[in-house]
């Protein structure tokens, strides 16, 4: 009789534990999988230049909005979110504090628009190489991606075929 109770208790406990662990795992999965960073790339540095820019598409597969609040990388002294804006033929670069990504939508970083500005590159970015960049989201937390360096002549529309390329994405 006592052993039956013990057995029941053990079963109950293990059930509770496993449920708890499922819940925790589910939490991690949610934050890691709702945000996908697609095709992160940067242009190879032209001779003489000391700044660069990185581009990507941020896909929010979840229902809730998330927000990219910080960017960092080791290849430049500073990395910051910027937006180029051309109005009446005048190009301005504006610092951006955060980028909202609504649930079920995407934020596109591309030439002439949003970009991660890489200021004071420690060394020129060379085509074919890649470097890590960490994106901090309000809900999804930190996501480190591998940014591929494309040729100087890489245009945004050429990157279309890479949209499915999820290589290099990993969560911390």
């Amino acid at each position: 009789m006592k052993t039956d109770i013990m057995k029941a208790l053990i079963i109950a406990l293990s059930l509770a534990l496993s449920l708890a662990s499922v819940a925790t795992a589910h939490g991690q999965t949610t934050s890691a999988s709702t945000i996908e960073i697609m095709a992160p790339w940067a242009r190879a540095t032209p001779g003489g230049a000391t700044n660069g820019a990185a581009y990507m598409t941020i896909l929010n597969k979840g229902k809730e909005a998330d927000r990219l609040v910080a960017v960092s990388t080791t290849v430049a002294e500073t990395a910051a979110m910027h937006r180029s804006e051309t109005e009446n033929g005048v190009m301005k670069m504006l610092a951006v504090d955060a980028v909202d990504v609504r649930g079920g939508s995407q934020a596109v970083f591309k030439p002439g628009g949003y970009h991660v500005m890489l200021m004071d590159l420690k060394q020129p970015l060379v085509e074919g190489q890649s470097f890590p960049m960490t994106l901090t989201f309000e809900k999804a937390g930190k996501i480190t991606v591998t940014v591929k360096v494309q040729k100087i002549g890489a245009a945004d529309d050429e990157m279309g075929h890479m949209q499915q390329d999820m290589g290099g994405m990993k969560s911390e």
């Binding site: 230049a49 180029s84 051309t86 970009h115 100087i152």
Partner: protein
């Protein structure tokens, strides 16, 4: 007062008309550069007296020519407006002009150094990480698409950041896109002058504490100048290389 207006109109007509000053002196509307009341001797045929009109005749001629001048200016303006290819662009008479700058190879050059070539003029700077490399690359690709016609075009990249863009920096920069692109820099005054002539807006905005922490807002437009150095049209820097190439091909083939 009305007479003053006629005189202004005549003066403007003489100054801006395509005919040399001599044409007007020959009909005694404008005096030579000598002292008032005497025609400069070297502007009249040797041994010939300058014809002198009576004040009434002269005044009537002035009135007539003033009206003609105003009419001619109006006609020119209409023609210019008619042939202005892109809406919203500036008057064809107002863009471009003489400049003296330093090329990326160290040579001192002027607008006249490029006569005989179509110019595709773009203003930017090497610290610009996004729009400038994108545009220069578009120019390079457009040249590639144009094939042999590209030999008739010299793309100029004029920096709006002369403090940081030395000829050496510019040389390395433009070469990364296409060796045919000529980088131009100069003193801040020379850059301000050429920017004013091209109606280019540029303004530093600080991004940090150091004096070197700044970006430059600037006009991002391609200016097309013909082989005589005259402004032809604007091309939006947001156009794709194929569109830029097609526009240039069209302009060059129309002219020849």
């Amino acid at each position: 007062m009305p007479q003053l207006l006629y005189l202004c109109a005549v003066r403007a007509f003489v100054t801006y008309s395509p005919w040399p000053r001599e044409v007007f002196q020959s009909i005694n509307i404008v005096r030579g550069r000598g002292s008032a009341g005497t025609s400069s001797p070297n502007r009249s045929a040797p041994g010939e007296e300058q014809p002198v009109m009576s004040p009434q005749t002269r005044r009537a001629t002035l009135v007539g020519l003033g009206a003609l001048a105003l009419g001619a200016l109006g006609a020119v303006a209409m023609v210019v407006a008619h042939f202005r290819p892109e809406p919203g662009s500036h008057s064809a008479l107002a863009i471009g002009g003489p400049f003296t700058l330093t090329a990326s190879d160290g040579r001192t050059v002027s607008d006249r150094s490029f006569r005989g070539k179509w110019l595709l003029v773009y203003f930017g700077y090497t610290y610009c990480p996004d729009v400038c490399p994108t545009t220069l690359n578009d120019i390079a690709e457009a040249l590639g698409k144009l094939g042999p016609i590209a030999d008739r075009i010299t793309p100029l990249f004029v920096t709006v950041d002369p403090e940081r863009d030395t000829p050496e920096v510019l040389a390395r920069y433009v070469k990364s896109f296409d060796p045919r692109i000529v980088g131009l820099t100069g003193t801040p005054e020379q850059i301000a002058d050429v920017a004013r002539e091209y109606r280019v807006y540029f303004k530093k905005h600080p991004t940090g504490k150091n004096p070197d922490d700044y970006l430059v807002d600037h006009s991002s437009i391609l200016y097309v100048m013909d082989p005589e150095g005259r402004y032809v049209t604007l091309i939006s820097a947001e156009q794709k290389p194929g569109q830029i190439a097609a526009r240039l091909r069209q302009l060059i083939s129309q002219s020849s």
